[in-house]
């Protein structure tokens, strides 16, 4: 045994190969290969996903071409499928959720990280993280049985304040794009709060001490020093929230009204991509409808990439400005 090892070692060619073996023995290359495999697996899964979505949607792609994206009719009886109302509903509800969720979430995170006593902060954070683990169907049920009736009672107040805009006109039945936006807001807030709080807490104490030493007030320190420092992480939490709201299915379908039409009023019902897939896939009437639903999946995938890319460019440009 003791003689075998050196012989084997000597038999190896010198140069690059032996250097590789040596590095392998030290563990670096093993770690490299293992982590590379992990990374490649994720890439392969994503590629496979796109490939499968593309392959299984061949039927509607051939039949409708690009007009699938601009079509506004969804009629399984005559086999006419268009995606625009679903794209519209998805974008509008997610935008609403971010509009309401970002100020609420980031505000709460600032309070929990900077202003609240540690005990309260830890307790509240624990509760908020629990909220993130609640299954979305629960949010949907709460939405339809609690939130929708509540919104119906609140409607005159909302209308009194915002009724002059076309966004809050027309009859309100409780289920609407607005209701879906509110449910999504509640669902994404825990993500924004818990990640943003961690990021803000990670800002080095020296930064704060420096600002305070220069005579800044506590709020000035938070607003001018801590938040810019934590900006990238907060943006990360918002991306995660956006991804969740774009792909949310159960909670949205229960409160959005499920009408595939484009209305300018947020009080009107709408439909989202994830919701129509969940609603119709199991009982799709024929191969064309099934294909059209799969193509909608592809559209959602593309939409997510475009919105995420757009947001990233936005972040990049603002952080550069901040660096100046």
């Amino acid at each position: 045994m003791s003689t075998a090892a050196p012989t084997a070692f000597e038999a190896r060619p010198s140069g690059r190969a032996s250097a590789f073996w040596q590095r392998l023995r030290s563990g670096d290359d093993i770690a490299y290969v293992i982590t590379l495999t992990c990374a490649l697996t994720i890439l392969a899964v994503t590629a496979l996903l796109i490939f499968e979505l593309f392959r299984n949607s061949a039927l509607p792609r051939e039949k409708f071409g690009w007009s699938f994206l601009t079509g506004t009719t969804w009629d399984p009886v005559v086999g006419q499928y268009g995606a625009l109302p679903f794209i519209y509903g998805t974008v509008v509800t997610s935008a609403l959720a971010l509009l309401m969720g970002i100020p609420l979430g980031v505000g709460a995170a600032i309070f929990l990280a900077e202003l609240a006593p540690t005990k309260i902060s830890n307790g509240l954070t624990f509760l908020i993280e629990l909220l993130a683990a609640v299954p979305s169907v629960i949010f949907g049920l709460l939405g339809i049985f609690v939130l929708v009736p509540a919104l119906v009672t609140l409607e005159p107040a909302i209308r009194a304040v915002l009724g002059w805009t076309p966004l809050f006109s027309g009859p309100f039945y409780g289920v609407s794009m607005f209701s879906a936006g509110v449910v999504l807001t509640i669902m994404i807030i825990p993500f924004i709060i818990s990640i943003s709080r961690e990021v803000i807490l990670a800002v080095p104490t020296e930064q704060r001490e420096g600002a305070l030493a220069l005579g800044a007030t506590k709020w000035e320190t938070t607003w001018n020093v801590v938040l810019p420092f934590a900006k990238k992480g907060i943006m990360g939490s918002i991306f995660l929230a956006l991804a969740r709201s774009l792909g949310e299915t159960m909670a949205v379908t229960m409160v959005i009204g499920n009408e595939p039409k484009i209305h300018s009023s947020l009080f009107a019902p709408g439909y989202s991509i994830a919701a129509v897939i969940a609603n119709n896939f199991a009982e799709a009437s024929d191969a064309l409808e099934k294909g059209a639903l799969i193509e909608l999946g592809l559209v959602l995938f593309g939409l997510t990439i475009i919105i995420n890319g757009f947001a990233r460019v936005l972040v990049l440009s603002t952080t550069r400005k901040g660096a100046k």
Binding site: V77, Y173, E283
Partner: protein
Amino acid sequence: MIRRIAVLNLLLAAVVTIGAAQQVLINAGGATFPYPIYSKWFDEYHKKLPNIAINYASIGSGGGIAQVTAGTVDFGASDGPMTDAAIKEFQAKRGSTILHFPTVLGADVPTYNIPGVAASLNFTGEALAAIFMGKITKWNDPEIMKANPGVKLPSNNIVVVHRSDNSGTTFIWTDYLSKVSKEWEMKVGRGTGVNWPVGLGGKGNEGVSGSVQQTANSLGYVELAYAIQNKMTYGKVKNAAGEFVQASLASVTAAAAGMKEMPEDFRVSITNAPGKGVFPISSFTWLLIPSKIADPAKKKAIKEFLTWMLADGQKLTEPLLYAPLPKAVVAQELKAIDRIQ
């Protein structure tokens, strides 16, 4: 003594082997609507014959048709009969044909929420079609008033609620509307999902009933069993004989009995069926069984299960709020079992 134990062991081993050989595991899947009664049946049948186990996955009617065509389940189940094209595809793939066996009946009822109106309303098919097309928009429309003498209806707009998910319930509803209204048939048509001219979509029976209960002046449709379980108000519907009939298990069974000529393959819509006492928005739900089953043990088990389902099984339907098959259909199906080979 030792020898005796050895003999006993041998005997036991023999019994176990025979038992294992007779163990039959059947996989099935499909419609969700009849799932409660199917799981009850398969459970009761397993208690009766412990060596036969039938697994049922409630994956939806479309899934049931797809899986039985692909051969991944031994039989399927659907709330709507397979189309000619689907049967052709089955024949091309499996080299035999598919047989439809009605199991129980279900129905759709119109349910509504009008503040101040407690009476059970009467609906004509024409009025329902016009409301769901958006042509009748107010509760006090003459077409509705005419059918409800003495009921004070408000002048409010009707909020239509329909299913947003594709479902057999929607198929029955749109099939009925297509039969009573040519315009509906031309412009909207029948299907598990359609392009609704008006209305809000609710997911599942619970979504529709939730929206109806929370929206004043709304009108929707749900399954009869769901309406009974949840003690919902639902209206009477005018049948082909001109009577306004309240949906009940008896009036739904009557719809199937009213069919004078049952086709050989049982693929028939019984909405708007003729006859007195018939509730017009009723339908069968079917098991989809291949005409050729290669495994003799499975074939025997499925045929025996069908025979049991048509006799003892039918007695279990009413507590679960499914309408049992009429006697004539049972007799015809018992004959059809011989077509499984």
